[in-house]
């Protein structure tokens, strides 16, 4: 919505209908619409030309109808054209990753779709491309339908979920408001009773007040322990709806279980610090760090020298290399990072034979 609004304001000034040459001065409400051949026309012209059925477009002579004209959403006509083509393509080419055995097949499929789209957009071999598309659509009719249904289901579920969330929030709010009201009522009741007692009983004011206080304390502590169970009970109100939407719930459960399974597998194997790659075998002189069993020191790995010949804690830098600047040190950079990187680079691919 915002896009069309900004677009309209930017096009306001120099709009001229290419057919009748009226501009916005002559017709302040002029709106240009775009046809399937992507030529613009103001609404009056459309009315005039196509009132009696299909007629040729004044610019390119293609036969058009009044209904095929639509509002322009993009300033650039080529973008408009491409979007329209892609929308049509996506209704036919809606296969998903799960339909393919390997990632490579999926990528190949996507690439062929892109190829066809490109050809259509740039009007290369339009006939052969259209034939190829139709052939594909015929071959995969069932799968297309299944996927279209799936998409529909998903969008339905998404809106339903949103509805549920909204309703839940509303309910919670109402419950909260009710509670507040009840509390206020109770308070005013209390005060009324207190005044009654003070007015009518024989005991002294002090004893009455003390008794009141003790009761009120007990009440607040009880209420606190009560609060926790009530919050859980409010979310339990959704099962009320599950009966009518059981078909949706079943699907959702299935998907969720699948997702959870995948997540479990991924979670069990996933360690954010661990590298996906095998460690470089640094050989003699270092803690054997193959397979990520490095000596970790707060996430850093210091190359540990175990040689008895000339044990050194740090390395001597070559001459001409200055010390680290203050800024680098403050940023957390240490010389050890540089040493580690250089030594790892020195041992990478050392035994790879030439071709």
């Amino acid at each position: 919505m915002a896009a069309t609004m900004t677009m309209n304001t930017s096009l306001l000034d120099d709009d001229v209908c290419p057919v009748c040459q009226t501009d916005r001065y002559l017709n302040p409400q002029m709106k240009l619409k775009v046809g399937p051949c992507f030529h613009k026309m103001c609404e009056n012209c459309i009315e005039r030309l196509f009132a009696h059925g299909p007629a040729p477009c004044p610019t390119c002579r293609q036969t058009l109808r009044k209904a095929t004209f639509s509002e322009q959403t993009f300033e650039d006509l080529s973008v408009e054209k491409e979007v329209r083509i892609r929308k049509q393509m996506s209704s036919k080419f809606n296969k998903r990753r799960e339909d393919f055995k390997s990632l490579k097949d999926y990528n190949d499929y996507l690439e062929t779709v892109e190829d066809l789209t490109f050809k259509l957009v740039n009007e290369i071999d339009v006939e052969t491309t259209k034939q190829a598309i139709d052939k594909f659509a015929a071959e995969n009719r069932d799968l297309i339908r299944i996927n279209a249904d799936r998409l529909l289901n998903e969008s339905r579920m998404a809106t339903h979920r949103q509805e549920m969330l909204r309703k839940e929030r509303q309910q919670q709010r109402e419950a909260y408001l009710k509670e507040l009201e009840a509390e206020q009522l109770a308070k005013s009741e209390d005060r009324k009773n207190l005044i009654q007692e003070l007015a009518t009983s024989d005991k002294s004011a002090k004893t009455i007040l003390a008794a009141r206080q003790a009761i009120s304390l007990k009440k607040t502590s009880m209420r606190k322990t009560e609060v926790k169970p009530t919050t859980t009970s409010s979310s339990g109100s959704t099962p009320m709806f599950s009966d009518s939407y059981r078909w949706m719930q079943q699907n959702e459960d299935l998907d969720r279980r699948q997702q959870e399974e995948e997540e479990d597998q991924a979670n069990d194997n996933f360690d954010p610090v661990q590298s996906q790659y095998m460690d470089v075998d640094l050989g003699v002189g270092y803690v054997n760090s193959v397979n990520n069993n490095k000596a970790h020191a707060g996430g850093l790995v210091y190359p540990l020298l175990t040689s008895s010949i000339g044990v050194k804690d740090l390395y001597v830098e070559p001459l001409g290399v200055g010390n680290l600047s203050q800024m680098a040190k403050a940023g957390g950079y240490r010389n050890a990072f540089g040493y580690e990187r250089a030594i790892e680079d020195a041992h990478t691919a050392l035994y790879v034979p030439g071709l």
């Binding site: 050989g283 040689s307 050194k312 390395y315 040493y339 030594i343 680079d345 990478t348 071709l355």
Partner: protein
């Protein structure tokens, strides 16, 4: 792991298959195991999935490794293709001229086309020009090395007769400054190098395309530093080690002009240069080799059979390859003169052939002249590039 490699090596499957088995077993000799973080006993069996080697994911490893024979073949092939296409075009041009009754005088006769040898000499000359200019700029050596490697990779698939190495040199330098994060704007660049900006920018996309957009290049400089650190474990005389390191760096700079970057890994080149430098500076390399690579029987056997032959081969190349020596300017000028004569008429805008081709293009008739290896003017459609 093997399957993974074959899919990434889609372009050169014949290279990958042979060496897969070799380094699947050599490096580490252990398969990585994915450890279950806090796994329960009842959970399903965790599979042993071998971890991948990081260097195997680099484009330099996957796409820019060749055997010497392959390099020679590629260069010969490109050279012959261009020579035959130029001959064909010259023939066409002379035919056109005779048809129109124009003189054939200014067409070169009996051309001595450039051989692969000449091309490499000329390229070596221009590579060293790159080195000199970067020395003036005082940037780290890997930026210069990247520019040189770009140029070498570019001329694996093109010849100097198609694109003059001077233009390609400037473009590679400009590109290398960008990719290695020492960007210089095109205005400053063309001013400093006294060269028009358009020619550099025109070639830029072609160079990127020929490089297949593989901009990251790994050089032996950091591995050399790594070995310098590593050797400190067995060194008492640090000043000698320092000299060895500096000598090794200069050797790496000369190695840059040979084909070593295509044949071997940067760490191997670095170790080889340290070995040669130790010999020159009378540093005991064998002591380090024993400590590092021959700590037990099996490791020694592995070193002697796998690593040592590579180090010796690299040493041989550095001793014997002509390109390690500076190219004489006179020789280069002579080759350049011959290059100017080899101008492809299809590229000369004044020639009849060019105009005929252009008219054919505009009229839209299908060009079936792919026998000339692709008209160089049509090869890259830049569109409305900047």
């Amino acid at each position: 792991m093997v399957a993974q490699l074959e899919s990434t090596n889609g372009t050169q499957p014949e290279l990958a298959s042979g060496s897969n088995a070799a380094f699947a077993s050599t490096n580490g000799d252990v398969n990585g195991v994915i450890v279950a973080a806090g796994g329960d006993a009842e959970e399903t069996q965790k599979e042993t999935v071998p971890l991948k080697q990081l260097y195997e994911q680099s484009t330099q490893y996957n796409h820019w490794r060749y055997a010497q024979q392959q390099l020679d073949d590629m260069r010969n092939k490109v050279n012959q293709e261009v020579v035959s296409s130029i001959k064909q075009n010259l023939q066409d041009e002379s035919d056109l001229r005779t048809a129109q009754g124009l003189s054939l005088d200014d067409l070169p006769q009996d051309l001595r086309y450039l051989t692969v040898e000449d091309e490499l000499t000329l390229l070596g000359f221009y590579e060293r020009r790159i080195v000199k200019i970067f020395q003036y700029w005082k940037l780290p050596s890997y930026v210069m090395a990247t520019a040189v490697v770009y140029m070498k990779r570019f001329f694996l698939e093109n010849t100097v007769m198609d694109h003059h190495p001077k233009d390609v040199m400037l473009t590679c330098m400009f590109l290398a400054r960008k990719t290695e994060n020492y960007l210089m704007s095109i205005e400053d660049f063309s001013k400093v190098l006294k060269s028009p900006a358009e020619s550099i920018l025109q070639l830029e996309f072609l160079v990127c395309k020929t490089l297949r957009f593989h901009f990251t290049v790994h050089h032996p400089y950091r591995p050399c530093l790594g070995f310098y650190f590593d050797m400190q474990a067995v060194t008492e005389n640090m000043s000698k080690l320092q000299k060895v390191y500096e000598r090794a760096l200069t050797l790496i700079d000369t190695a840059l002009h040979t084909d070593l970057c295509f044949l071997y890994q940067p760490s191997q080149i670095a170790l080889a240069t340290m070995r040669i430098a130790s010999k020159d500076e009378a540093y005991d390399f064998e002591r380090y080799a024993k400590y590092k690579f021959m700590s037990n029987e099996s490791a020694a056997q592995k070193y002697n059979s796998q690593l040592l032959p590579i180090l010796e081969a690299i040493e041989k190349v550095l001793k014997e390859d002509r390109r390690c020596v500076e190219v004489d300017k006179l020789v280069a000028t002579e080759i350049d003169k011959r290059l100017k004569m080899c101008k492809d008429p299809a590229r000369n805008p004044d020639s009849l052939l060019f105009m005929k081709r252009k008219r054919g293009e505009v009229a839209g008739d299908d060009d079936d002249d792919d026998d000339d290896g692709g008209n160089p003017d049509k090869r890259v459609k830049l569109g409305d590039s900047a």
